[in-house]
Symmetry: C2
Subunit: 255 residues, 2 copies
């Protein structure tokens, strides 16, 4: 069971959109996939069609040990894709965790008691490097970083890389920086083009070849509670997430 954290403390860079659509595209080729919503905003849960009123237990209850992980899992409308949703209480989780023993290992411990087997587990993180994101870093083997092709987003990358190194040195020596995915790319923007070139020059093979274009259909899909791949398969957004999933599996399994 490979656990992948999707994180970037910069806000609005496409973490949730990447988590939802990568998970969907990979489950579509027959892999058993679990999506875990660690963001109190609960966007990933909405993105796969589970609205607030339908969420009973979720990542909060699992991390705090109130229920077993199995009791938090719900099926989604996507075959082979299950979800651990974000419930209301998650917004208070970080304050609760601070005073606890082994507060960074709570999610890892919850996964260790897991009896289900998935091929891939994706953890969608909030836009911060607080205890929820650190728990994700500690529980996973891979870190995938969505990066908007904008100046402010580039600025935050060094802080994220530093945090990865700190966690790897002190809390989880297995955590690998798996890759960087460039998102919301607009080829008409000179800035976007130069950010893409800078990042590829600086991070080389870590940067995915697949660059996700800005595409209105992607931002419309959540209002229908569907991943864009199901909402509008032919759109450039969907097609690029399908390519991304192919590239992900090649990088993971060396197909």
């Amino acid at each position: 069971m490979e656990i992948i954290t999707i994180a970037n403390q910069k806000g609005g860079v496409g973490k949730t959109t990447t988590a939802v659509n990568l998970a969907t595209a990979i489950s579509a080729v027959g892999k058993r996939v679990l999506l875990v919503d660690l963001d109190p905003q609960g966007n990933a849960s909405t993105g796969v069609g589970l609205f607030r009123e339908d969420r009973k237990y979720g990542s909060y209850e699992m991390i705090l040990g109130h229920v077993s992980p199995e009791d938090t899992i719900v099926p989604t409308s996507v075959p082979n894709l299950d979800l651990i949703p974000a419930t209301q209480h998650l917004s208070g989780a970080e304050l609760e965790l601070v005073g606890m023993q082994e507060r960074e290992y709570k999610l890892k411990k919850a996964f260790q008691s897991f009896s289900y087997q998935y091929d891939y587990v994706f953890l969608d993180c909030p836009p911060s490097l607080g205890l929820l994101t650190v728990n994700a870093f500690v529980a996973s083997q891979h870190l995938l970083v969505p990066l908007q092709c904008e100046y402010y987003a580039l600025e935050g990358l060094s802080q994220l890389i530093q945090t990865h190194q700190l966690v790897k040195a002190n809390l989880n020596k297995n955590l690998k920086l798996h890759g960087i995915v460039l998102t919301m790319f607009d080829k008409r923007s000179g800035l976007n083009v130069s950010v893409v070139n800078d990042v590829k020059k600086h991070f080389g093979g870590l940067v995915y070849d697949t660059v996700v274009p800005r595409n209105i259909k992607v931002s419309e899909a959540p209002s229908y509670g569907k991943p864009v791949i199901l909402y509008n398969f032919k759109s450039p957004g969907s097609q690029s997430y399908i390519l991304l999933a192919r590239e992900f599996l090649i990088r993971m399994e060396g197909l």
Copy 2:
């Protein structure tokens, strides 16, 4: 001295861009303005041209009481606009604050000892409802909410309004929801249009008439360390931030 918090826990909705450009446009009509960067990412500091290596003391040192507020203030290249930057240590501030007495009042106390007088102080917040944002809520009289015209951003609004009400009831009875500013509007997107209509219907007069359009020049400006108003005055982005500043002063001072 009016203190305005610019907050929204949804990431990437234009908090920093609004803080930087509103502060710049208002200082341009002769008001004395202070911009405070409470986001560990430090984007607002970069947005007015203060790069990481030039930052000595900042909002962290002020909140924790290590230095006096006056020692953290730096002038910017914009006349009448001063800055309290975000320094490196701010990323650890929330964990440090948790165990302290009156942890929500630290920023308010720092402002109370202020000897300088500004007409307006703008607080740029990180994308979360943690202790830095709560400190901003407690220290200010007004809350201005930038809102991206997208579905996920709309979803988070109720949580933000709830937090405002909690703070108003328990920590700062003066905190007023000043207004909502719609950002990154693309008139070709049916979703953007329907979000604008929904928000205006639901929040009425709280919603600013000025809607900020999506405009490539706005996202290019930070790479030059300049507010878009100074980077490219004639651009639609700049012009709308100038209109926004006019509307802000009318709402504040009833011009």
